[in-house]
Symmetry: C2
Subunit: 126 residues, 2 copies
């Protein structure tokens, strides 16, 4: 499929799809006329990139993970441990981010609830 449809389906701007390609996170095929040609698998990949990127994971790192995913068999013993540690570290960071966001969310939520209650009370009292 062409770039426009991918952009529509993933919510990732046209421009960014080219950018990700430039960063070698993505390698869509080409039609004879030069248009990029994305597969369903590409779309899934874009969604992953979109999410990781929005989570503050740097594209360099995304690339590494995605590359490893491609040839899951090609771990060279030497780098295995290092990469695994990196991933574990990122997961830990994500965990801490999630809990932080959740806390913030809860704070806003309870704030909103209190405020709504406040207004309700005021409304029924006035």
């Amino acid at each position: 499929m062409r770039i426009g449809e991918v952009a529509d389906r993933t919510g990732v701007a046209n421009r960014m799809l080219r950018y990700y390609e430039e960063q070698e996170l993505l390698t869509p095929g080409r039609h004879r006329n030069g248009y990029r040609d994305y597969t369903e698998s590409d779309v899934r990949r874009v969604e992953t990139i979109r999410d990781l990127s929005a989570s503050g994971v740097p594209t360099r790192f995304i690339k590494i993970v995605l590359d490893r995913q491609a040839d899951a068999g090609a771990w060279t013993s030497k780098c295995d441990a290092i990469l695994a540690d990196m991933v574990r570290c990122q997961i830990a960071e994500l965990d801490s981010k999630i809990s932080c966001l959740t806390t913030s969310r809860e704070a806003l939520r309870s704030f909103l609830d209190e405020a709504t209650l406040e207004r309700t009370v005021r409304a029924s009292a006035g």
Copy 2:
């Protein structure tokens, strides 16, 4: 406490602490000599900012969240509805962010699991 200690304790660069202050996310006191003076509560605030920021939450938004947390009682009747909508909107954004992070976490997790399995198999086979 002075800025250097805050930087050491939070891992947030000196420069960024000033930046956050400039963006009104933080308002440390001042010593007589002009040095910034941070409280323990400031440190906790910095940690929140650090995590939210690392999660890709823009500082503008962080400011709003933090502000709301601060003056939970200060709703003026006129703005109630508007403010409530804003907060609801922000909660929605946090929600989407959280699910995004969770998805990313799962992706990394399963990647790591597969890789580990792979190595285990290879190890016991070789």
